[in-house]
Structure formats: structure tokens, C-alpha cells
Symmetry: D2
Subunit: 499 residues, 4 copies
């Protein structure tokens, strides 16, 4: 008999609301992590860092810290960092020079989120406690959980990440870093982890380096962050990326020890971090994310030119690529669609009198600008296609002469199992339609996606994709999964047939 993944439903449910205009039609990064050691009031730094990483998870956030007198303390809350971790009242309860934090987006399947699913997770071991914050997804979590329960572990959450802390608790090793190495060697999938003991800050990336993790220097201390934009907010200096398969153990006296607990493998960084997940002001592999996106627009303009009067981004994620498209094509860039800055929960729609209210609440067409024009709309991706269709209708209602969609990523045809919230495969428009079928389905004058090679070029691979050994994880486009999604296969997921 299989264990239930979510044995108990808590009442402390989170309100779901979406900060992006079409959140329900986007792939969503599930986590951002941040840690700092060697500073006064470390939790304040973590709060700021998490605020800068809020785009990686808006549902909930948590901080664990340690102070020699006050011991470990923690706070976990639903909602934005800015609302939960800014008051003097809360922050005073989180003292000490060492802290880690986590922001999360819920997984697609969970109907009711519980506060106990909010990381960091904490465990008291026989020689002292540790806390962990995990970005990614463990692909053998179901099997691990079953095994751990049979041995007598009691799970408190429905999170795959909890396996790590139980594996650590049961490790025969003594020190926390050694327990962690021991545990992570049993774990498959994608993981960037920030952890802490009473005296150490620890960072690890999985052997493929699917999720990002960077090292920064702040005052006399060190910090670890999912992205560089969170270093900027606290005035930290970007030192380097943690390498795939690397573990760094940073002590209170500022020593950074690098270890290699895993077998070496070719790296497979998630290419979608370039397309959408990461913030445009972050730097990946030495390059501005914004500029990579702009260059995708340039590639698109070359691969799929069109005669038109205006290039308009779908706000806000299509903006950099639209600028690039405009620059390469010479077609003027314009804000044809205006976003309402005060979006939030669902309004009650006046019955039957108003259609498409969902879109209008968030976006409005700049009618006087669009009327009679041939418009190129640039968006970052097409997932279900539902919003693309609504936007097209808004633009046509406003009197546009032609609508041409240009998409700054290849067709998203496969779900991600490495820490991203994706619909089931059959919900992905590109899983069942060709580019032409999608164009007809969306009823636009033209629809073009950037090629995989174009995307790789924009990301800095001058030669495009190395199909023998791709430089990135691009499973959502290619269906080539660098780590076997074993839990999903057990549940019936079918891998792409190898030709």
C-alpha cells in the first residue's frame, strides 16, 4: 500500500492570488532561497534577499535563524515577504548572525496549502539541529518517503523536500555537512539547497546544476542566493556561482570550504531561467538576463520577420524581447497594452453583461494607438494558449488591422519535473498542435516561436544547441529529461519515444 502524500489537511489555507497578469497561463518557478552568515541581524538581510527573490515564489515565505543566546528561531507565513517580514515585532523575534530563508510557490496538485509545508524545514539531530531550504524537485521523493515511513519517520508536510531532513536525521554520520552529503546522495532530481547549523551556512547544487545558486560577500559575512539581484538589494558583492555538484560550507569566522560530494557530470542549467524565471536584472554566466531576452527578440526578428506598424510587448515579461525585435526589425516599439498596477484577487464579474473581464482587470489596450495598425505582439512563451487568445481578441476589438504573435521561446511541449509548476502534458498547447495549428487555433495572422538554436544563440552559445550533449536542460521544449522522473513514471507518465 502506498503512503498518502498529504495525510492531513490544514485549515490554515493560503489565499491564492496572482501578481502577474496571466499567472495561470505561465510556467512558475517554485522557490527562491537565500542565506547569510557573519552579519548583525542576519534575518533582516534574508528578508531583503527574499523580497528580491519574490518573483520565484509568492505564496509563502519562511526564515530560520540562530543566535547563541536565543537558539534557533523561525517564522513561516503565507503571503509576501514585504507584508510578513518587515515589522519590528516580527523581526525582533529572529535574532542572530546566521539565517536562511525560502519563498515558495505551491505545486500544481496541492489543493490546500498548509503552513507546515512552508520551508525552511528544521530537524533536531543528536548532536544539534539544522535547517534546510530547497529549490528544485526530488524526482524519487515518493519512493524515499515510503522507505522512511516504513523505518518509523513521521512526515509533517506534504513536501518532497522533507525527505532530505529525515535522511539527514537517520544518517550514520555525525556532523551536519556529512549528514547532508549522505542524504543528498540518495536524492535524485534538481536541487539547490541552502542549509544552516548553529555555526555554519551550507550551500549545495545538484550534479547537473539545474537550479541556480550564487555566492556573495556582504560586509564581513557571506551570503548564498538563488540570483544575483538579491545580492544587489543588500549591497553584497557577487563572488561566483556555486558550481554544479559543489557543496560550500561557510563558517562563522568567514572560511569558505568547497566540497564535491557527487560524481561529476556535464552541467544542465535550466534554460527557462533565461527565458522567464530569473529577474531581468540578474546575471547568469556573466551575462545580463535582460540582454539575453532582448537578444531572443533579435533572433526572432531574424528568424520570423514580418511587415507591421508597431511592435508591442505583452506586459511585462514580453518587454525585453519586444525591444530586441523592434531594434532588429526597425518597426517602432510601442506600449499597445497597458497593465493595471493594482491587480489582485478575482472580482465578481457583473453577470452576462461583460465578457473577458479576467483580462480587462489586468490589461487594457491603448485603443487610440492600436486602431488600424498592423501589430506584432511579443510574448515570452505559450503554455495553454488561453491568454494569448484573449489578448488577440482585445487587440482586434480595439481595431487592429493585423495581429502577429512572436514568441520568445520554442513551443512548450513537455512538463518540467525539476521544480517548476507546469500543467499536465495534455494541457500544453504545443503538446498536441503544430505551429500552424496553433496559429489557426489562436486565429492570428501569424504565429512564430524562436527556434531552439536561436534560443541557445541568444543565451550565448554561438553555435546553437549541441544536440549530442545539450548545454542546458531544455526538457520542456525537447522532452529530453536529463534525470529520469521516476516518481512520475511510476504514476504513468510516458517519456518521449526515442527514435
Amino acid at each position: 500500500m502506498k503512503p498518502r502524500l498529504a495525510p492531513s489537511l490544514s485549515l490554515d489555507q493560503a489565499p491564492r492570488f496572482h501578481a502577474h497578469p496571466f499567472d495561470d497561463d505561465k510556467l512558475k518557478e517554485e522557490c527562491g532561497i537565500f542565506g547569510v552568515i557573519g552579519v548583525t541581524d542576519a534575518s533582516n538581510f534574508v528578508a531583503l534577499g527574499l523580497h528580491a527573490l519574490q518573483h520565484r515564489g509568492q505564496e509563502a515565505g519562511g526564515i530560520v535563524c540562530y543566535h547563541p543566546d536565543a537558539g534557533f528561531n523561525s517564522a513561516r507565513r503565507f503571503g509576501y515577504v514585504r507584508d510578513n517580514f518587515t515589522s519590528q515585532d516580527v523581526m525582533e523575534t529572529l535574532p542572530g548572525p546566521l539565517a536562511i530563508g525560502h519563498v515558495r510557490y505551491s505545486t500544481a496538485g496541492s489543493k490546500a496549502a498548509a503552513i507546515r509545508d512552508v520551508q525552511p524545514f528544521f530537524g533536531e539531530f543528536s548532536r544539534g539541529g539544522a535547517a534546510i531550504a530547497h529549490n528544485g524537485n526530488i524526482t524519487n521523493a515518493i519512493a524515499l518517503r515510503r522507505e522512511l515511513i516504513e523505518r518509523g519517520s513521521i512526515f509533517q508536510s506534504s513536501s518532497d523536500s522533507e525527505c532530505i531532513i529525515h535522511l539527514m536525521a537517520r544518517s550514520l554520520q555525525k556532523s551536519v555537512p556529512e549528514r547532508m552529503e549522505d542524504a543528498l546522495r540518495r536524492v535524485e532530481g534538481a536541487f539547490s539547497v541552502v542549509a544552516m547549523t548553529r555555526t555554519k551556512l551550507i550551500g549545495v547544487r545538484d550534479p547537473l546544476g539545474v537550479r541556480p545558486l550564487v555566492l556573495g560577500k556582504v560586509a564581513d559575512g557571506w551570503c548564498l542566493s538563488s540570483e544575483t539581484c538579491a545580492l544587489d538589494i543588500i549591497g553584497a558583492e557577487f563572488v561566483r556561482e556555486i558550481e554544479p555538484g559543489e557543496m560550500v560550507v561557510i563558517t562563522s569566522d568567514g572560511k569558505v570550504d568547497s566540497r564535491r560530494p557527487f560524481r561529476s557530470q556535464p552541467s544542465k542549467f535550466c534554460i527557462f531561467e533565461h527565458v522567464y524565471f530569473s529577474r531581468p536584472d540578474s546575471i547568469i554566466g556573466g551575462k545580463s538576463v535582460y540582454d539575453t531576452r532582448r537578444r531572443i527578440g533579435v533572433e526572432l526578428a531574424r528568424e520570423a520577420p514580418v511587415e507591421a506598424d508597431l511592435v508591442c510587448p505583452v506586459p511585462d515579461s514580453g518587454t525585453p524581447a519586444a525591444i530586441g525585435f523592434s531594434q532588429e526589425s526597425g518597426i517602432p516599439y510601442a506600449m499597445g497594452i497597458i497593465r493595471n498596477q493594482y491587480m489582485g484577487r478575482t472580482f465578481i464579474e457583473p453577470t452576462e453583461q461583460i465578457r473577458n473581464m479576467g483580462v480587462r482587470l489586468k490589461l487594457n489596450v491603448n485603443r487610440a494607438l492600436i486602431k488600424g495598425k498592423r501589430v506584432v505582439l511579443v510574448d515570452d512563451s505559450v503554455v495553454r494558449g488561453t491568454t494569448s487568445r484573449k489578448i488577440k481578441e482585445m487587440i482586434l476589438d480595439a481595431g487592429a488591422a493585423e495581429v502577429h504573435f512572436r514568441i520568445a521561446s520554442p513551443p512548450t511541449a513537455w512538463p518540467c519535473f525539476y521544480g517548476v509548476d507546469t500543467p499536465q502534458r495534455e494541457k500544453l498547447l504545443a503538446a498536441t498542435m503544430t505551429e500552424d495549428e496553433m496559429r489557426d487555433h489562436l486565429r492570428v495572422d501569424s504565429l512564430r516561436f524562436v527556434s531552439l538554436d536561436g534560443l541557445y544563440r541568444a543565451a550565448g552559445e554561438a553555435e546553437g544547441r549541441d544536440n549530442a550533449c545539450p548545454q542546458y536542460c531544455d526538457a520542456c521544449f525537447s522532452g529530453e529529461y536529463p534525470v529520469e522522473p521516476s516518481d512520475m513514471i511510476e504514476k504513468g507518465f510516458e517519456l518521449k519515444a526515442t527514435e
Copy 2:
């Protein structure tokens, strides 16, 4: 190195407020438990039962239930049952024919309560989950916790009760009742436990039967409750008390199976349940608690008569004994002290202009009645003595001619380690003073406590206390602990020297 009992401080702290006038100067029962099987909407019954048991724990409450379709669900909240478990919104999330619940008062030591300390506790085992609710205290909890952590268990709370669920998770037995027997054989101390699986309601009392647990019949189902008053509220019929050392396993089809997992011992029911903890409308051992208390007053009037004009209870717990004292002595009974029904949190006291505000917020003397009178004040117990002194001052300020205290229990000279919140021994007035010294300390005209034999007689033991083998646990009065408090001895507590 010893493990920390409360590794992490949560921010979800409970507001502390006291429903009784002098809560900080009373022994406090720490828990009430209730369970029901075989009814529609079991959680509603549990909510009602817990409401009737609210006097056993006001800080927090929790309910776990099971429905074949919805699985296990739970809700745990700080505050009163009436405020947390009455709305349609909440109760609809707790469906099913089987539920257990718990109300708790926090232990003396814990500065900040956390929601994860609120029971029932839940564990998913390899063949299905179980939830437990515990009234009592495990006297070897620290040793058990240390052992379990060394084996890799991760504790989520600072509660001693969590040991039980981890012991169950690690049991080599398969069924939940067998796992529970296995676990409870490792546990020392006082425990009445109500537990549930997907199909069974389980009740257990420790071999000494220190804490109460009764069985009731409601409609086609069965219920377990700390006290009979909670049977009345749901219209259940009182069937019998669960016996010391007995485990009952009740199945969905209404079968009640009785087991005896422990070695038989003479029972040691807590005599303070008669004095203060239990509700006056509950029935223990076939006798009305109210009437036992009234009879303590009768014994007091015989043992310690006094010439006076009025007998006044200290509201509300002194009322039954005051009635008995009046009836036996012929001195008129009067409400000389009136309690404010709207007590709550602390007021800001106007600086320096008002003294003793703490008492006046809660009680007021009936001046016109008291003036010039010789007053007998009847209270249930003296713990620290701080409030006895304040009340005496109020009565004298109002112009009483004499004040005579009569206490409906023997001097409380020893802390309880079996599930009651007691101050440290040195804080107990009777630990350091004789009756005469206490009288002088309180500056009253006379002070008398009922004798241990008088108390036993009022509780139905016509011959008084059997000193060779006392019929009750009276450790708080006698210092004779029926179970060795091993954790406390490890921490330095000294047992009474045996003569």
C-alpha cells in the same frame, strides 16, 4: 549533550488570558480529551465535548477527524473552542463519523506556545495513520526524546506527548492498537489517551488511573471523555469509567473491545480532581463532584469551627464548600465578593493612584453587606498565597470586623508531575510554612485547612486515608509520588525524605 526540548520558537504565539479570577494562583489541569465514533459529523460532537471540558485547558484546542472520502483532516487553534470550532466554514472542513479532540493549558515553563504543540498529534505509519490526544504527563519524556532523536526521529513540538507517536511509528507491531500498547509500555507517568485510526477509536488509562476517562453511548455511536459533563452536553449516556490500566478499542460497527496491556497495580486517582479540576456537575466514582466539595465544607466546619456572621465563598471555586460550611455551621451564606463576568487580559493600571487593581478588575467586595461583620472566607486551595492576601485586604478595606480563612484542601506543599501546572516547590506557601505561619503571613484572624482524612472522608472514604496504601494520588499534599518523577530527579528535584 542533551537535546533541547524547544528547539525553535514559533511566532504564532497565543495570547495568555485567564478566565478564572486568580488563575496565576491556582493549580491548573493541563488537558481535556474527547473522542467519538459512529455518528454523523463527529467533529461537531467533539467540539461540543471540548467546550464542556474547556475548564481543563483554555489555551488551545484541536480536532482530528477521518472521512472515507476526505481522509484525515485537522484543525488546531489557540483560544476557546467556542471561538474556533463553531463556524460553518471551519466545521465543514472536518467531516466524517470519527473524530478526536484536545484542549490544553500550557505548561509552566514554556514561554511561547506554538501551534505545533497543540494536540492531537498525527503520524502516518506504514500501514495507515493515527492521531492521539493525551491528558497527563510522561515522567520519563526527556530520556525517551533523547533516545528517539538518536535513532533519527525528528520532533516537531516541545510536548512530552509527542514521544508516544514516535514510539508508535517505530514499533515493530503492525496494527495501531498493538503499536500503541508497545509504545505505552515504554512510557512512565500519568496518561489518559484518546486515539483514532481510520476505523477505530481507542481509549487508554495508565495503570494507576491518575487522570479520568469515561465511556459514553451517543445515538448509535460511542464516545470517550475526560469527564461526564461532556457527555451531558451531547446528550450521551454515561456508561462507565475506563478502568486504570485498561485499553478499549471501539470499531465503526460499535464493538467495544477491552484490553489490559499493563501489569495490574492499585489505582491512584488524582484527589485534586475532586477538589478543583473537575467540573462540579461531573460524576466521579458515582458521586457528584459538587456534592463532594460541599461535603468538604461540612468537614471543615466540623474540624475548624468559628464564630462568625457570614460565610462567603471566594468565587467561583469556593462556592460549594462555602455552602457546606454554612449548612453545617448555621452561619448564613452570603455573596460577599462579586465576580466581574467580563474578565480578560490585563488593563493598563493608572499609575500610582490605584493599588491592587489586578484583584479589583476581577472581584469586588459587597461593601454594604460586609461592613462590620465577622466573615468566614472559604476557598478551594492556597498555592502561592498571593491572592488570599489581596482578598483579605479587600475585605478589611470594606470594613469587615474579622476575617477567617477556611481552605477546602490540605496545604499544597509539593508540585504535581502528572499533568498539572504547579509552581516550583519553593513557590508553594505550604512548602515553607506551617499553618500558623501562613496565618500570620496572610494576617488573618484564623486560617484552617481541611485535614487529609477529612478530604478522603468527603470523597467517600468513610475511614479516611489508608496511609499504608492511599486510595488516591495525593502527592501535592503528602509528597508521596506513586510514579517516580525521573526526568525531574535528573533535573535536580529532591523527593521527600523517607522517615
Copy 3:
């Protein structure tokens, strides 16, 4: 066209909950008022005073204060004083040496209470502002409101009391006390008012003195309060009652000026204040309210003796009369009904399996005590009779041999229009039935009410009621209204036919 009394429904609705077991079957006092001048942090004193007067109104409370630097400040909240006016945060916003406050119970008719109905009311006049707090009811409020609206006044609340502040604003007089005299001469009905300007505390009682108001001395300042119990809580000395038709104007330097703005009339204090409204530890006319109630029990035992085994109060309001009945009759007093101290909002009642849950949530019978006994139940009044019937059933279910009701007031046959929340006349049991019919309706072995003369005797009128010119307002019993309820007559209320 008539103006609407409640033009706009606010969303800031108050949760209704009842602190007394059968609140829906009691007459309810609608207000308590308190004011203080000449002390540091006057608002803290007012908060304490209102807490002591909470029994006079549980729905909402408000405080207005004045500080020479901070000006007028105010706070109005739904809920208990203890929950709203105790935090440092709130009290710090209410500085100054002068403050007044108000607690209120909502009127029967208002479906949704709004925060703007919560007193004190404030008005800025051309020579400075004033705030007023009113206990009572204006019987010509509808006519006054209509007139004021026609002149251009804008009402902000649905309260009759708001008329007073508008009349003051329009007065041709200059000083606030003179404006107040001017305004109150236009007002009919019952009113005790506490008011304040920047430099004065003012108290007034209507010419009949229907509602109470007392003067106290605290430190170097003075206070005004509905009852003496609120003087005790702040350690104030009771000086005297404000006399019917008297206005006192107290200045910051401690001068108390007494005025007589109204034509002199025989006083008509509300006799129900003795029966139920006032707190038992208050003193009215030099006599303990508790003792008056006890003496009603004595009168009842003389007027309506019965052979029985136990005298039990209906908690808590029947207690003093039950003690008196027991003392006069010699029948032992016993707590046959136990009240749950944790009452609150409505529980969801398990469907069809439990009857009379409403009562059981609040009260429980002491079964072991009652069984086989002939029981005298003493209650303070019978309004609708619904709860009397439920209690009788509980007592019989518990096995009582006989049930005799003794009521510590005459039959309540007429609604009150002077500041008390009464059901419509046809809902009053005594309006449509004789004593015998009520006995049969309630199905008890006997039912007797104290006589009007007995009640007057207990209240200190040795000769009983002076029918030519009654010493009290007893309209709820006699139907003799000392002030014509003109608004109600306009709405169709029919006065008692004069024989």
C-alpha cells in the same frame, strides 16, 4: 414624508454574542456611562469604569478624551472593553486629564449595528466642541429628528441620542452647559447624560431620574458613573447620587456646580435596576443591590411558600433571591444547575440527534444532586418564557420529582421605552396569560411571582407601593408610563386603558 431612521447600512457589523445564559430571554439595559476629570490619563480610568459597567452593554464601547496639546481624541469599537481598551497602543492615543465613555447594547430592532452608532457622540460648535454619552431613551426622538433634518442637520447615526448633539449645535446659547440645558428641555423620556467640553465634565439626569448616575471622588479629580461598582474598581469614593433633574458641571480645578434646569417632578427611578440591571455589588439609595435581591427571595418565600427538598437558583441572576428564599423557608440551598463559564457564539448543533442544545451549551443539571428531589427554581424574571420551559425540561430529564418556579419580580407585561431592550408586547408571556395559564404553559408544578408590593418592600418601601404616586417607574409590570411614549404611540402602540 417621514425620514428614514437608518439611512445607510454599514458593513462594519458587530458579532452578536451573549454573555448571559439566556440573554435572548432577558430585558437588557442598553447603556452604561462614565466620565472623569482632573486625573492623569483619564482614559484609563474610563476604561476601567466601563469594564465595571460592561453588564449594562456588551455590544460596543467608546471613549472620548481631551488633552490641551493633543485636542479631542476618540476610539469606538465593537466588543468588550477588556479587548479594545487595554492595549498600550490604543490607550496612548487617548491622552489627557478629561474623558468620558459609553458601553452600549443594541436596540432590539436594529439588524446591523454600525460603528457610527457607537457613543460618545462629538460635535464641533462655534465656540468649541463637546462630546456626550447617553443612557436612556428619548421618547420623542422621531419628531425631533424630522424637525432637525428639515432645518438642514445631517444625521450620521440611527441613534436617538444624536438628537441631543444637533439640538446643542443649533442652540442660540453660547456655552456648552447652556446649550445642553437648552437641548435637553426639548427632549422627552429617560436620560442620564455624561458630557465633556475641553474644560468641563457635565452630568445630568432627567427630571424623573429614571436611569442612575452617581458622583465619585478619585484622587484630586471627580468622576460620574452609572453605578457605584465602577467607583470601586478605580478606588474612587462614592460621594452621592446625582439627583433627578439635576445637572452638575465640574471644572478642571475641581469645582462642582449644581443646577436645576428642569421643572421639579416626583422621582421615578427604574425598579428593574434593583431586580436585574444593576450589579449586585452596587449601592442604590444607600442599600446593597445584592441584599435587595436577597430580600425579594425572602418576600417570595413568605408570599408563596412550598414544600420542597432543594432551592436552586437559575444561574447567575437568580442566585441572591434563591439564597433569600432558602434562608426564609429553611429549604437547603444548592447549585442544581451549573453554568459553563466559556459560553459564546452559537455552536453548530449536530442535526436531529440532540435537542435543546442551546441550553445545554450554557447550563448543565447536577444530575446526582437533583434526582428524586422536589426542586424550587428561583429566577429573576420571566420575559418570553422560552428558557424557563427549557430549564424545567432539563430538571425533569435529570429525574427531579417536582419543579416549582419562584420569580423574583412581578409578571413583565409591558415593554419599556426608557432605554431597555424589551420584546414587543405580544411576545411577553405575561401580556397574554394569567399566572395560572403561565404555570400550565410551562408545565411546572407551581409558578409564583413576587407581588408588586413585595418587590417595593424588598426595595425598602416598608408600606409597599404607593398606588396614587408610585415611588418607582414600574411600567414594565404595571403599564403605567410616567412619560408618554409619543414616538411609539405614533407608531401604533396602545397605552393601557385607564379604568
Copy 4:
């Protein structure tokens, strides 16, 4: 003696938070208004309309509606429309076919906002009630208030707008539209007002037409809105602008009656609505606001060209002008500054270790893009100059070679008294410095503002400003106030000396 404008401080204070990155350094529109008649569930339409107008006031919002059965109902709340007026619970209390609403930003001076300051205001008159919502500012409010208080009116808020409803209450006219004409003829300043009775929706603009108001058609009903973007959200058709000095009275049967209650004057629409206040997707005078802003950028590029590598907007308000500047100058447009989408309340800044955190919380520089570049920064306006300076520092810290500021409005040298929150004159950078002094103060390589003529040209006046009779109100730039600010002059404000 002068009356106090804010007699009483409420505790219901609003949390202040800013949705725009540098809200404290922007002029702020104070209100948005919306009304609808002749639709089902009018309040839902109003909620949607207010959501689209949220940029005109984020502090609070209110809705009043009328239903023949339910009468007038209202809700007023602090915070965003999306958070307050979207739940079924709230919206169900606001029934009916007729409703008006208001969003507001607080005035600069008020320290503590009170819920009673939140519009719409409601008054019950002798022939029925009316509600009003006001955008603008009454320049003789203090004098009017003093007069009304002397006549006996009681003000409930500290808002200037409340004068209107009191003037209406006291009007000798009978119908609400006539009372309104009567009242508004006494009022000086800027006002667009939406009002309602039980059967009519009314809209008025002051004779100069300073604030906008437009008429729309939705289904069988009509609506009035501050801007056209709120028509789009409910699918309403834009009919026409209400003309300066026009009053429209719309009845339930759909009849629109136009009146001219004021003396005709040349119109003076606020030119800052084009610069910043209005939403870019609104249409004013037939022209897209976005395009006007883009054309300001074009004018700027012509008037103040510069050699540079990148044109970057200060997000988000500088974006359209930056696009125009890039298009005219040929310098590439780039997102050199990235805005954090999750801004909110103030964070606790880690002490002394981090400077300029305020800016970094909201904005981050795209370092990899900016480094070594000559950057043109385009912003909409300079008010205090504090944020311009911080942004310049961020850009230089990131390694920019040169920083050139181009401002899409003339120097803001005078406060606005017509419904905009402006700092006092001495706080305006341009009030005390020349353009060159400002450049030196900000330490940038160059600083240029668009000329008044350039602004007028971009706004569609081909010949630029008509200095004899300016086509717009541009008092904030020119100091030429079309309505004398009499309250402010009384308080000591000095008008620009006429040469």
C-alpha cells in the same frame, strides 16, 4: 476663534504604503470618482471602475448604492479596491441599480486618516437622501466650514468636500439637483462631482473644468468616470467628456439632462493629467495619454539633444517619454533600471551596513547593461529631487560613464491647490533653483526639462502656450492660479508677484 479642521482623531488609521517607486517624491492626484445607473448590481460596476482608477487614489475607497427595497447602503474601507470590494460577502450588501464610488489619496497634512473621511458622503435631507463623491479641492473650504458650524451644522470629517453636503442640506431648494446647484455656486476651486439620489445619477464639473469627468454608455445604463480607462474595464462605450461648468442629471429611465448652473469661463484643464496623473491608456480630448507622453519625449529630444549610448526610463512613469526620446534621437532604448514588482511597506534596514536601501527595495540597476555607457535617464517630473539624486548614484555605482537627465515636464515650482498632494513651495527643488543649479545639485552631466511650449505642443497645441489666456491650468509650472486659493492666502501663502 477658528474651528479646528480635524476635531477628533480616529484609531482606524490606514497603513500608508506606496505603489509607485518614489511616491513620496511625486505629485499625487487625490481622487478618482465613478458612478453608474440603470444596470443590475451597479456596485460591481463601480468596484471595477474604481479598480481602473486606483492610480488616482490608493489610500481608501467607498461605494454608496441604492436599491428600492434595501434603501441606501454603503461601505468605506482603507486599502485597495481589489482587497475590499471583491468578496461576495461585501458586494452582496451593496445591492441595486444605482451606485457611486470614490478612491482617495490622503492630503499631505493629515497625520491620521479616519474612515469617516472616506467618501462618498451621505446626507439625509427632508425629501430624501443623497450621496456625493468629489474629485478636486475647494479653495474656500475653511471659510465655508466656519460659516456652517456657526449655523449649527456638525461636521463629521476633516474633508473639505463635506461642505458640499452641508450646503445642500441647508439649501432652500427642494430637489437634490437644485440643492446641488445652490451649494456648488457657493464653492470655489476645482471640482468634478458624481452624486446620486434614489433615482438619479448626477455629474458636475467646475466652470474651469480643472478635473476630468467623462460620460459612458454601458448596456441599458449610463456611467460617469474620471477617466476613459474605467469605461474600458466594464465594456462601456465612451460617449463624451462632461463639459466645464456642465451638470448632467441622468434618470433611471435613461434620460440625460444637461444643465449649465455656472457663469461660462474659458476652460483650464489640468495639464499635469497629461504628464502623470491620468493612466496612459485613457483618452483626453480625443488623444491617447500614452501618445502625448511619447510626444513629450520627442519634444525633449529636439529641445535638449545629447550624445549617448542608451535611453533608459525611470520606471514606470518615464517610459513613454523615454520611448519618444529614443525614437526621435535614434539612441537605443533599454531597461537600464528594473522595478521590483512586489514593493510595499518599509523594510527594517540593516543598521549602518547598507545605504540607500529605500531605493534598492524598489529599483535595481541592470549592471551588465549600464557599465561604461553614457545614459540618458528620462523621468516625468522632478518634485523634491531626492529620488533623482539616488537614482543617479545607483547608475554611477553600476559604472555608467555619463548620466543625463531629461524631464518630461517643466520645472515644478508651485504647489497645486486644486486636488493634488504637493509639498509646500519651499520643498520644491525648482522653487529655489535654476535649471543649472539643479544640475549641479543633482551632480549629473546634464539636466534638461521640456519647455512649457514643448509640453503644450505635445498636448496638441501646435502653437504652444497662449500666454494671454493659457489653454490649460499650469499653475504648478507657471504660478498662474486660475482660481484664487483664498484659504491658503488666509494661511499666509504668497502668490507670484505680477510683473
